[in-house]
């Protein structure tokens, strides 16, 4: 009965793709300590999406253009940006303000803005699912290609560089992959709640294992569970999907952290 309506089928299909991508890339976001950069990308993307709506384009176009652009900039600056949380914060607050301006210029529905900020997975069409699937496959393929050198340069950039890894190009490449993943995930959980799908599952996974493939596997599995459960609960409730997905992620993370002293006693 859950799959009686097309919109639920589409939501599950898109949600599954996004969860796999977000869970997988999340490990690298956590490993590289670029959680804040991921957050910033989504906020900057919001301005782009709102701008695209004003210009009469699809919000996804603006979202992708802005996240790719700022992702490349963050990637090029790389190490020089480490510890520059204040700078990134100032830029993203301004872009969010810019987004508000674009929304007010657009004399249409506030629902566009609402969807961007908090996600609107129940409004996904068959065509959207196909686009999400293609983007998802491209992201996963790109992650597989850069897997080893990305891992290497995430652990020690100097060493990787000496061994012949093009670290700056890789840093830009990773941010570009992240930009695409962020764009996809925004459809499901929105700009403001993106952390729940990209960072939280990976952050939980690394509390159980430091073996990279396992950590990625657990991250993907958790992202899938949060998405599927969140969708299922929302189906029977008047409250938004995003709330359930983020809450499941949060409660799991808190539970895992709190149970750590207990697990240490048992091991």
């Amino acid at each position: 009965m859950l799959f009686h309506y097309d919109f639920m089928v589409h939501a599950f299909e898109a949600g599954t793709v996004v969860a796999v991508v977000a869970g997988a890339i999340g490990y690298f976001v956590v490993l590289r300590g670029s959680a804040f950069a991921a957050h910033a990308l989504s906020h900057i993307g919001f301005a782009g999406a709102a701008g695209a709506v004003v210009a009469g384009l699809s919000p996804v176009v603006g979202l992708l253009a802005f996240t790719l652009g700022s992702g490349a900039a963050i990637g090029v600056l790389g190490n020089r940006l480490r510890g520059r949380d204040v700078t990134i914060g100032i830029v993203l607050a301004w872009t969010l303000g810019l987004g508000v301006l674009f929304i007010s210029l657009y004399r249409g529905y506030a629902t566009e803005a609402y969807a961007l900020l908090f996600g609107e997975i129940l409004g996904i069409s068959q065509a959207d699912v196909l686009v999400t699937l293609i983007a998802g496959l491209v992201t996963i393929a790109a992650l597989v290609i850069v897997y080893r050198p990305l891992l290497f340069s995430s652990v020690d950039e100097d060493l990787a560089s000496a061994k012949g890894v093009p670290v700056t190009a890789l840093s830009v490449g990773f941010m570009a992959i992240l930009a695409v993943a962020v764009t996809e995930a925004v459809q499901v959980v929105g700009v403001l709640l993106l952390f729940a799908l990209i960072v939280t599952p990976a952050a939980i996974a690394v509390r159980f294992t430091s073996h990279p493939p396992y950590a990625i596997g657990i991250g993907v599995a958790l992202a899938l569970v949060f998405t599927w459960l969140g969708l299922s609960i929302a189906y029977f409730s008047p409250h938004p999907v995003s709330f359930f997905i983020t809450s499941l992620a949060f409660v799991t993370y808190v539970g895992v952290r709190l149970s750590e002293p207990l697990r240490r006693l048992l091991v």
């Binding site: 891992l151 020690d156 100097d158 060493l159």
Partner: protein, 262 residues
């Protein structure tokens, strides 16, 4: 003996500023060389040049008879670095594993031989016990052993180590130097090691290469480890003391040792 590294009138510049010039020296194959010099004198610049990360500004540099090139499998490298971030969620053995083929694109399929090479290298430095634990959670000495395992994994002939002792206590410094010495003897490796405190190295080194005041020069430990020469190199009062057992101790570099530059 052949030369592992040969420099002829070599000069280095870093972002437009000349660091040192007129460097002519050879590092014999199989020798153990300590690289000394004050902060910012260009020791790391020399290592980066040997690694092929920085082209010579002038002069000629050869590593095993060839121009330096990035990713040379003959070179094992330990970069200068503080301890790994405590939250770094990767196991020690995964890190050593990256030394096998971490620069290659894609994921490794199969790869029993590569995994075995990493494990053998971990075993050779005595790090098997904690290689499965998260790298960030290990002690400084344990991390340094895994860095060494990573440097040794491709069977290199030259080990370049940029301050591998800086963040260790005295006991660990001695243990790591002894380990490096043993491995280097067994495998006939050439070792170039940047250090601030020469004391843990004194019993092991064949040669000293010093970088100071825009010059690079080499000498035997007996020539260089003297009160006059070290004071001149560091432009600071350094005293070399010999005790009744003939043991040598260098005093006056403590300030350098306790504040390794970033």
């Amino acid at each position: 003996m052949t030369a592992a590294i040969a420099a002829d009138n070599l000069a280095a510049a870093y972002s437009g500023r000349q660091v040192w010039a007129g460097a002519s020296f050879t590092i014999e194959d199989g020798s153990f060389t300590a690289v000394l010099g004050p902060n910012g004198s260009g020791k790391t610049t020399l290592i980066r040049m040997i690694l092929g990360l920085l082209p010579p500004e002038a002069g000629r540099l050869e590593v095993f008879g060839r121009q330096p090139r990035r990713g040379d499998p003959k070179i094992g490298y330990i970069p200068q670095r503080p301890a790994f971030d405590i939250e770094l969620s990767i196991r020690g053995r995964d890190f050593v594993d990256l030394g096998v083929d971490g620069w290659r694109w894609g994921v490794r399929l199969g790869g029993r031989a590569q995994a075995a090479a990493a494990l053998a290298s971990i075993d050779a430095v005595g790090a098997s016990e904690y290689a499965d634990r998260p790298l960030g959670r290990l002690s400084g000495g344990e991390q340094q052993r895994l860095l060494l395992a990573q440097a040794l994994v491709g069977d290199p002939r030259l080990l370049l180590m940029d301050e591998p002792l800086s963040y260790l206590d005295v006991r660990n410094q001695l243990a790591i130097v002894q380990l490096i010495r043993d491995v280097a003897r067994r495998r006939n490796l050439t070792v170039l090691l940047i250090a601030h405190d020469v004391n843990p190295l004194l019993a092991h080194i064949d040669q000293v290469l010093y970088v100071a005041a825009g010059k690079v020069a080499t000498g035997t430990p007996n020539e260089i480890i003297t009160t006059e020469r070290l004071s001149a190199i560091y432009s600071a009062p350094v005293e070399v003391i010999r005790d009744s057992h003939g043991r040598v101790f260098v005093a006056g570099l403590e300030e350098e040792t306790s504040h390794p530059h970033a």
